[in-house]
């Protein structure tokens, strides 16, 4: 339906790319406030500045981790560079594939979203259990703990995105106007991971096996998401299902934006938005239902 996808495209552009930084911040703040007022029955509401709290906790996490390390955040460059090197070597020398131009950049477009997703989801899953002393003794909205865990992975993500964009420029694919899609898409991805992490962290409190389920799912994901192969090679029937997975959708769109200077497909964007927001809301609901029983099980 060309009209629908056109409307979606225009709507997307206005809402996300059109918003200034403070506009986006206000939107996130509004979402948090509204979700805070989703009825929690007899619960006593925490009153305070959510964004300031999250910011403080994320910075705290960052400082604690890197205070005494010399190279600090630069270590987060190591993994994608190594994977990029290895995969390039394998698929161009050892087992040559039908020529994909700019293979290192191609692979990196797959590795960065995949890396972020796996690390953020796993960190989010164990966040409640890892922060047991805080949860048990300090009254604060517990969703904040999980969201903080996911957002503190964004610092690595930022470094890796800089790497990605640098490699794009070095490969000769300079800056193009499609790059303005990137903040919106990454924001949606982060929202998706937050939702997923809230669900799995709540379950993890009661069933500590959940983290192993997440680890296994991540292993499978490496093959389901076209990290080192092109989605063109997949049977055409499966492609619409493939990009319901927000990680795959992001990888495919990243390649379109960086390699081909094309905007992401409207259908993909629509699915990304719908799936991300659905998972976020579902995650909040599941977390809120399970929250009251955390105390006894940590």
């Amino acid at each position: 339906m060309p009209q629908l996808s056109r409307v979606a495209e225009v709507g997307q552009t206005i809402v996300f790319c059109g918003l200034s930084f403070s506009g986006r911040k206000a939107l996130i703040s509004a979402i948090l406030e509204v979700s805070a007022s989703i009825p929690q029955s007899l619960e006593i509401m925490w009153r305070g500045d959510y964004l300031y709290l999250i910011q403080n906790l994320v910075i705290k996490d960052f400082k604690i981790r890197y205070r005494n390390m010399s190279l600090g955040v630069l270590w987060s460059l190591l993994n994608p560079l190594v994977m990029m090197g290895v995969l390039t070597f394998i698929f161009t020398r050892v087992w040559p594939q039908p020529a994909i131009p700019h293979f290192p950049l191609f692979v990196l477009c797959g590795m960065v979203p995949y890396n972020f997703f796996t690390v953020a989801w796993l960190t989010g899953t164990t966040s409640i259990v890892d922060n047991a002393p805080l949860i048990k003794r300090v009254p604060l909205p517990r969703e904040v703990v999980t969201i903080t865990a996911v957002l503190s992975c964004c610092i690595h993500l930022a470094v890796q995105i800089v790497l990605l964009l640098s490699i794009a420029i070095l490969s000769g694919k300079g800056f193009n106007v499609q790059w303005f899609w990137l903040p919106a898409m990454w924001t949606l991805e982060i929202i998706f991971v937050c939702g997923l992490a809230m669900m799995s962290s709540a379950v993890n409190v009661f069933v500590r096996d959940m983290r192993y389920v997440v680890e296994s799912a991540n292993l499978v994901l490496f093959w389901l998401v076209p990290v080192f192969y092109s989605s063109d090679r997949i049977d055409k029937r499966y492609v619409p299902i493939l990009d319901v997975n927000p990680v795959a959708a992001l990888v495919i769109s990243l390649r379109k934006i960086l390699l081909n200077a094309e905007p992401p497909a409207a259908a993909t964007l629509l699915k990304l938005t719908a799936v991300s927001l659905t998972f976020f809301v579902a995650g909040l609901i599941v977390f809120r239902r399970m929250k009251p029983s955390f105390y006894e099980h940590i």
Partner: protein, 257 residues
């Protein structure tokens, strides 16, 4: 929900709270086995049929032996856990000092910890900026505020935690056995601040072993014993009853009055 609503600050209506014993088995395997065998783990009753009301401006002490349920009662008030039965209602902004270590991190400086804890207690960015100096001056830690927290003594930790909680200007202040660590000068300062609180119409809920401090600070008390509320009312009466019940254990040693 504010003081002017006319509702009491804290209401406990017929509250029961229990915990499952052996809550350690959390693997899928064990849960399935429990479900197949229709086993229900025994429960430990921390609080039984507790009903109490604290109006704005009252300061209520909670006394009792170790394990009587004092901390559980405070946890229910701050919504860290929910009651099995009954209702807990709180009207007003809470600042809770339940565990000095919990919100603090030893690797960060005093200043960083103050900001984090102020945010956790509900202050906005602007309010933290305005109150920062007040907090540091109350804690008398101006010289050490940029040192990492692991270099602080436990008294200094307590002063910092207390300063943050008090300067948040809550309607209800909840304290769980943390007043013991400060030196006399600071305990005196805290006392004065808490009395100011009372006069300003704020509510205080305080659990402690030190009946001396409590006699000074609070006007009402609740005595808990193994989860039951044994006595409640004016503090002098409740403390006297508590001491009378504890005394028989000291008698055989023949210690004088």
């Amino acid at each position: 929900m504010s003081i002017s609503d006319g509702r009491p600050a804290i209401i406990f209506a017929d509250v029961w709270k229990s915990f499952a014993r052996h809550a350690g088995q959390l693997l899928i395997r064990e849960r399935v086995m429990h479900w197949i065998r229709s086993q229900h783990p025994e429960r430990f009753y921390a609080l039984r049929e507790i009903s109490m009301t604290a109006n704005h401006g009252e300061s209520v002490a909670i006394i009792g032996h170790n394990g009587a349920g004092k901390s559980t009662l405070l946890n229910l008030t701050t919504n860290l856990c929910r009651p099995d039965r009954g209702r807990v209602e709180v009207n007003g902004r809470i600042a809770a000092l339940l565990d000095l270590g919990a919100g603090f991190h030893p690797d960060l400086t005093g200043a960083e910890n103050v900001r984090i804890n102020a945010a956790i207690l509900g202050l906005s960015r602007r309010q933290v900026r305005e109150k920062f100096d007040e907090i540091v001056d109350f804690a008398e830690l101006r010289d050490f505020i940029d040192e990492p927290l692991r270099t602080y003594s436990s008294g200094m930790n307590m002063r910092l935690a207390f300063a943050v909680a008090v300067c948040v200007d809550p309607d209800i202040l909840i304290i769980d056995e943390v007043l013991g660590v400060g030196d006399m000068a600071f305990v005196d300062k805290c006392r004065k601040r808490i009395l100011e609180f009372r006069n300003a119409g704020k509510t205080i809920l305080c659990a402690s072993h030190s009946t001396v401090t409590l006699l000074d600070l609070c006007d009402r008390a609740i005595w808990l014993d193994h989860g039951h509320m044994m006595e409640h009312g004016p503090i002098a009466r409740v403390v006297a009853a508590y001491k009378a019940a504890m005394m028989p254990q000291a008698a055989p040693a023949g210690v004088g009055v």
